[in-house]
Point group: C2
Chain length 105, copies 2
Amino acid sequence: MDDDAVFKALADPSRRLLLDLLFERDGRTLTELDAELEMTRFGVMKHLKVLEEAGLVVARKQGREKLHFLNAVPIRQIHDRWIDKYTEHRVSALLDLKNELEETA
Amino acid sequence: MDDDAVFKALADPSRRLLLDLLFERDGRTLTELDAELEMTRFGVMKHLKVLEEAGLVVARKQGREKLHFLNAVPIRQIHDRWIDKYTEHRVSALLDLKNELEETA
DNA sequence: AGAATAGGTGACCAAATGGTCACCTGTCAA
DNA sequence: TTGACAGGTGACCATTTGGTCACCTATTCT
């Protein structure tokens, strides 16, 4: 939905690290994630909150633990709606090459 | 080179707008770009500086004017090195579908 | 030469950001 | 049932960020 929130969420290296960790293995708990960052639990909580609000992380509570899951959909969205536009030149470069070859042949 | 600078540069909507403007038409001057944003010249200068430092904009000085050009390479880099990893699931989803259809047939 | 034009610098400011801590609640296990 | 454990809240703080302004330099036009 909100592209800006996603871009802002991705702008911090700690948050990208959290996404990488969740990509590697989903459903981790806060303290589990905390163990991987050089930061107190509170800092990690704040980052996870930002990620949740951007829709990049979805969390489910189980007993006294909170399990965190990666949701890649918003990344795909900014990819399709924004980034792709800047990267598709490569494709047209290939098409140009194809056309050129066909004309030569 | 520096992924973090690129992500940070992309995190601001004014800067993304600047990139969109340059995507539309390259080689614009500062005052030309300034005219499109609701901000003073100085604000735009700062944003352009951030974009330059991230390598997303390259500028050439011509007389008393400064011409700004878009460089999409860093966007492609974060795409290939980071974003693609989260979006390629779609490809495997398509492959799964393909396999499923082949098995059914 | 003199005025207008395009851009640059450094100081400054308010608001957002990244992080810690004291303290509190709910849940599990001995 | 009592202690340990997982998580949450609000206050607080330093730094960064997004933006303006006064003033300055270099180039162009008449």
